[in-house]
Structure formats: structure tokens, C-alpha cells
């Protein structure tokens, strides 16, 4: 993972060098050294509290490292880096909020700039274009709080990619969505990544919805980490090593389950009820078919 490369190469999306992060005297992760080059689709996995979101915050320039260094798109991290797009976990907007999807996407272009601001006609065209690309046009002018979770999340993706980022950070974008919408959002992000050849860092507790897209995995647990291709990392040996106890990695119907024998320290990558629903072959490129079907 950490082969030496020339510094300041913008094609290196993210590069950690002996990076350590402490949080309130607790070691979140230690000695993280790796790099992700364009194009890659990286799944960042691990149990809750293992520092996945902190990792994104470091890349966003919101949290400084305790030791070591990090480069983002060939430069030290900085707040408001225009090369980064960000999709947060789905949280519903208040249904009376006077805000349309179109306004949310517009904020992705100029929300950080001072002043009252009136979108230029070029901005407005760009916003409509991106909304069309995520197939959200039919509801882009409705109050955003009245849309379904999947619809809101589509508009969030439009907001994140409207500035044409080199690096897209997604923090559990599928959480609290039903299976159908999970698949749509996955296809959308995967399609964007394939078209543009950029890098996606995708934080998730369940790798299966994105398994077909992922070419790299970073697994963090108890301050330790492992990185590589899914086949390298998601094995019983590597996982047992990482957890420090016996862990079984099973493949069932093309899906991956990580199951620990000891309760408490265990972590299930797969929620059992997801098993029979979809096969992990659906998320390959292009925009989701039948994207407008809201169950």
C-alpha cells in the first residue's frame, strides 16, 4: 500500500504517512500509512466508534492528526477544499423548511461564499444539469423536507458532485434507507465514479451493497487497520488478526459476512434480513434503472 511516490501528485487522492489520531486520550488509530490513487472506490469499514468518520474529518481538514502526516489531492488537508465533495448520513430535513432540492444543490456551489448572492445563469444551468443527472428533476422544486429519504439522498449526491470534485467522501450514505433506495444510491455513486474516474471514499458498516464497486478496502478496528483489495482484507485470517480474536469471514450468495464467535467484541458486516434480497451484481456503472420507483 505504501510504496514511495513523488509528493504533491494530485492523482494521489489521499495519502497517509504514519498517521495517528487520538481523541480525548483515546487512541483512535495508529501508524496509518497508505495511499489511494485515482481512480478508486474505497470502502472504509469497521465497527461503530472505530474512527471511520474521524478519518473523513481529517481529510476534510476539520480534525488535525495527533502524529504523522496526510496529503489530500497532493496537498495538506485544508478546510473547504473545493476538490472534495461530501455526502453525509441521511438525516431528514424538517418538512416545513423553506428549501427546495434545487436550493440545496445550489448551496453546494456557493453556500460557503460570503454575501447574499444570486446564482448566475451558468450556476443555474449547472444545478439543473446535475439534478437531471441524478434523475431528481421531477421533485427538485418541492420542499425538500417532504421528499422520501431516497429522494433527499439523491439531491445530497447532486449537491456533493455539483462542484466536480476530485474526491467524493460518503459517510454512511445508505444508513436508514430501505434496500431499494440503498441500491439506487449505490448505483448513482458508482456510476459517477466510473464516468469521471475519480476517487470515492465510502464509509459504511455493511460492505455488501457496494461490494461490486469496491476495489479497495480499509478496515479499522480497535486502533488497528488493514488495507488492500476486498479479497486480501476480508479473509478470516486478516480479520481474526485485526480483531485479536477468532473471526469468521463467510461468503454467502456473493455477499460477505464477518462474524465473531465472542459476543461483545463481535461485529456483523451483514444484517441477516438483507441476505436473500439482492445479489451483489447490480451496482455496475450507469444510473440506477427505474430510479423513480418509490415503494
Amino acid at each position: 500500500m505504501a510504496e514511495p511516490v513523488a509528493r504533491s501528485d494530485p492523482r494521489i487522492s489521499v495519502r497517509f504517512d504514519a498517521a495517528t489520531l487520538d481523541y480525548h486520550d483515546r487512541r483512535v488509530w495508529t501508524d496509518l500509512s497508505l495511499e489511494f490513487k485515482e481512480p478508486s472506490f474505497v470502502a472504509i469499514l469497521g465497527p461503530n466508534g472505530s474512527g471511520k468518520t474521524s478519518l473523513l474529518r481529517v481529510i476534510l481538514g476539520l480534525t488535525p492528526l495527533s502524529a504523522g502526516s496526510v496529503e489530500v489531492l497532493g496537498q495538506p488537508p485544508r478546510r473547504g477544499n473545493p476538490g472534495i465533495g461530501y455526502v453525509p448520513q441521511h438525516q431528514s430535513f424538517d418538512q416545513d423548511l423553506p428549501l427546495r432540492g434545487r436550493d440545496l444543490v445550489q448551496l453546494g456551489i456557493d453556500g460557503h461564499r460570503w454575501g447574499v448572492g444570486r446564482p448566475s445563469s451558468a450556476d443555474r444551468r449547472r444545478v439543473s444539469e446535475v439534478i437531471e443527472a441524478v434523475e431528481a428533476t421531477p421533485y427538485a422544486d418541492a420542499p425538500i423536507g417532504r421528499l422520501s429519504g431516497g429522494e433527499q439522498q439523491r439531491l445530497r449526491i447532486a449537491q456533493a458532485i455539483v462542484g466536480d470534485p476530485r474526491l467524493l467522501l460518503c459517510d454512511e450514505p445508505l444508513a436508514s434507507l430501505d434496500l431499494h433506495h440503498q441500491q439506487e444510491i449505490t448505483d448513482l455513486i458508482g456510476g459517477w465514479q466510473k464516468r469521471t474516474g475519480r476517487t470515492v471514499l465510502f464509509v459504511t458498516h455493511d460492505v455488501n451493497p457496494i461490494l461490486s464497486l469496491v476495489d479497495r478496502v480499509l478496515f479499522v478496528v480497535n486502533g488497528r487497520w488493514a488495507a488492500g483489495t476486498p479479497d486480501e482484507v476480508l479473509t478470516s485470517e486478516r480479520m481474526s488478526d485485526l480483531y485479536g480474536s477468532h473471526v469468521d469471514v463467510m461468503r454467502v450468495h456473493g455477499r460477505i459476512l464477518v462474524v465473531s464467535e465472542s459476543t461483545g467484541s463481535g461485529f456483523e458486516l451483514e444484517e441477516p434480513h438483507h441476505l436473500p434480497e439482492i445479489h451483489a451484481g447490480g451496482g455496475s456503472g450507469g444510473l440506477g434503472p427505474g430510479a423513480r420507483n418509490v415503494p
Partner: protein, 286 residues
């Protein structure tokens, strides 16, 4: 009507109207953010401690407007620095408000001739403001509007979508404090019209009504200002011809406008906005 035209010739009426217009514009815009950020309780605390400030100012012989401004500003800084998280914020507001009101009671006991002035601060005095106070109010109002114009976009971003705003480099925490200071100024202004106890009628109702009329942020700001203007100017004029306190009319007007927005006009307007969803280019942005 003749009586009204006659009254409009008096400087005190002109003062009131000039101050009222500025106050309404400030209140209209600020109330949108107060509603969206769930800060009704903080507004109330700012107003009550504004009362303490002006009581203290009268005690030492300074303009009550300056005392009011000092009271709301100090409170805003307290809330801004001590109450970072939402849950913490409400607790801090309560703690600071209780102590500040206690101080207000102390000032009242120290100064025996208070009754009328205290009532004026509690229930509004707009037709009693002096020309120098009007100038001060205009100054504070202009300063507030300029500050609001500068932070408008990032404040909107931080209000509706704080996580992504932070990720995009918006100083969410700093803006929260700036907005508290803007609120402090807006409260000091609005207290002139409706008084401390009725402050929410100008700093909540216009924004809350506007939300019921449109899903577009820009339009909502325009509606909110229009509603605040209607309440303040309508209130002043009605008070002039009937001899009942301004705040009575302002609170009644704003309540009626809220009900009207919510149940009569709102559903139609919102429905019309959404009936043309397939022609985004035909509609002006926000």
C-alpha cells in the same frame, strides 16, 4: 382619516414610522433564522436581559436603548460561548436568564420612580422614542442589516445543512455566535415596538408565517419582511387613531397573519408552486 393625516405631521409619529420600518425589516429577516434554528427560547432570554440592561441604564442615567443593547449583547456572548451543543444551549439560556432577571428586580428596587418606564420597556414604547433614540435605532438596524447581508449565504447553509456546511469550510461555530449577536441587535430593536414580553410576535411569527407560504428561501425572506412591516406599521397607525398600545395591535395582526398564512393562503400558494415542477427554468431561483 383626517385625524390620521393630521397625526402624521407630528415628529414623534414620523420618528415612530421611520424606526418601525427599519425594525420590521430586521425582524422579518432575523425571524426566519430564529425559526429555522429553533432559537425561540434564546430570543426570549435576550429580551428579558435587555430589560435588565435598560433598567440598569435608567438607574445610572444612560439611554435605555444603550442599556438594552448592552444587556442583549452580553447575554448573546454568554449563550454563544457556554452553550455550544443544542441541549446545552437551552440549559445555559435558562441559567443566564434567571440570574439576569434577578438583577433586573434589584435595579427596580433601587430606583423608586420606575413604574412607567418599566411598563414601557416590558410592553413597548415606539411612539415615545426620542429623535436621538430613533437615530440610534436606525444605526443599529443598518449595522445589523449589513452584517446579515455579509453572512446571509453561509448562515443559510449552516442553518439548513450544518454537517455539509462544515465539510465545505463554513465556520459553523463562529457563525452561531455572529448570529446570536445579530439576534441581540434585532431584539433590542424589536423591543422598542412590542416590548420585552411580546418579543416573539416580531421575532418568530413573521418567519413562521412565511414558511407556510413558500418553499423558496428567497421568497420566504421577502414574505417574512412584508408580514413584519404590515404588523409594525399597521400597529403604529391603529394605535394612533384608537389610543390603545401599539403592541396590542402588532400581536393581534401578526397572529391573524399567521393563521391566514397557515390555513387560508398558504395551502393555495404552496400548491401552486408545486404544480409546475417540470419547468424549473421558468421559475426564478429562491
Amino acid at each position: 382619516m383626517d385625524q390620521l393625516i393630521h397625526l402624521l405631521g407630528y415628529p414623534f409619529v414620523q420618528n415612530a414610522i421611520a424606526a418601525g420600518i427599519v425594525i420590521a425589516i430586521v425582524s422579518g429577516i432575523v425571524s426566519r433564522f430564529v425559526v429555522a434554528r429553533n432559537m425561540a427560547f434564546a430570543v426570549h432570554a435576550l429580551a428579558e436581559l435587555g430589560f435588565t440592561g435598560s433598567a440598569g441604564a435608567i438607574l445610572v442615567g444612560v439611554s435605555p436603548v444603550i442599556g438594552l443593547m448592552a444587556g442583549t449583547t452580553i447575554t448573546a456572548l454568554f449563550i454563544g460561548t457556554l452553550g455550544v451543543r443544542v441541549r446545552e444551549r437551552d440549559a445555559v439560556v435558562g441559567v443566564v436568564m434567571a440570574f439576569g432577571l434577578g438583577l433586573g428586580v434589584l435595579f427596580l428596587t433601587l430606583y423608586p420612580h420606575y413604574a412607567t418606564e418599566a411598563i414601557a420597556i416590558l410592553f413597548g414604547t415606539i411612539t415615545g422614542v426620542s429623535t436621538s433614540d430613533v437615530l440610534l435605532l436606525l444605526l443599529i438596524g443598518a449595522f445589523t442589516l449589513v452584517t446579515l447581508a455579509i453572512v446571509y449565504r453561509p448562515l443559510t447553509f449552516a442553518t439548513v445543512d450544518p454537517e455539509v456546511a462544515e465539510a465545505r469550510g463554513v465556520p459553523v461555530r463562529g457563525l452561531a455566535i455572529v448570529f446570536l449577536l445579530i439576534m441581540a441587535a434585532a431584539v433590542a430593536e424589536a423591543v422598542q415596538v412590542v416590548g420585552v414580553l411580546l418579543i416573539l410576535t416580531l421575532l418568530i411569527t413573521p418567519g413562521a408565517s412565511a414558511e407556510r407560504l413558500t418553499a423558496r428561501p428567497g421568497r420566504a425572506a421577502v414574505y417574512s419582511v412584508a408580514i413584519a412591516l404590515a404588523c409594525v406599521l399597521g400597529g403604529i397607525l391603529l394605535a394612533l387613531v384608537t389610543n390603545v398600545a401599539v403592541s396590542v395591535y402588532v400581536t393581534s395582526l401578526s397572529f391573524v397573519l399567521y393563521l391566514g398564512s397557515r390555513f387560508l393562503v398558504g395551502p393555495t400558494l404552496l400548491g401552486r408552486e408545486q404544480r409546475r415542477p417540470d419547468q424549473p427554468s421558468a421559475s426564478l431561483p429562491g
